[in-house]
Symmetry: C2
Subunit: 114 residues, 2 copies
DNA sequence: CTAAAACCTCACGTTGACGTGAGAGGCAAG
DNA sequence: CTTGCCTCTCACGTCAACGTGAGGTTTTAG
């Protein structure tokens, strides 16, 4: 499919897709005239990228992560990176839940004293 | 206390404290010579700010949140904002946990196929 | 065949939370 | 008094993930 369809189907902008390519995350084939051609699987890929971005990973992190996935084997350094990222996300979840509780407290107070 | 001590005790940079002041979050007294004077309670405040920033709130959000807290009463718009932010954080936690599971899967795969 | 819609490549602009000097003044110790 | 560290106010720089035209080509619909 072409870039516009992928954009609407995966819920990101055309610009974002070109940016992902720049970062080496999703490099499509090209038609004879130079237009990008994406496979079906690209939709799922892009959603995965969004999820990882939302989790606070950088483009570089995601690229490393993909290289683990693509090559089909990982060295110690890559596995270390994966674990480090996972731990970072875990910490972040804990932080967010703390923040959530503080907000809940404030909401409770402002509801009883409006 | 002066700005340097607050910085080290609360774990942020001096620049960050001046930035918070710019944003109206933490406006200290001034000595005769113009140096900032913070009370003890500022340490806890700054940690709270960091927690909210980590949760994805902007300076403006935190300022509104403080005004709820300070004035001691809230209008409907403020309570709406508080709830919206809380819901946003909840969604984000759910997203992060999804991402966490995907990372765990990848880690499991790369461990069994190194 | 033509006009609109979609695509292409530069390349500069945006946003938020600071970083990083520059140049000048303040403060405790010896 | 002067050395050395802390603080002050501008004010420009940074970084990541895009946004936003500019100017030109390609594809599609009628």
């Amino acid at each position: 499919m072409r870039i516009g369809e992928l954009a609407t189907r995966s819920g990101v902008s055309v610009r974002a897709l070109r940016y992902y390519e720049e970062q080496g995350l999703l490099v499509p084939e090209r038609s004879a005239s130079g237009q990008r051609q994406y496979p079906e699987a690209a939709v799922e890929m892009v959603r995965f990228f969004q999820q990882m971005y939302a989790a606070g990973l950088t483009s570089k992190n995601i690229a490393e992560l993909l290289s683990c996935y693509d090559v089909g084997h990982t060295d110690a350094q890559q596995r270390g990176m994966l674990r480090a990222e996972r731990d970072r996300i875990r910490d972040r979840v804990a932080q967010l839940q703390d923040a959530l509780h503080r907000l809940d407290e404030i909401i409770a107070v402002t509801d009883t004293h409006p």
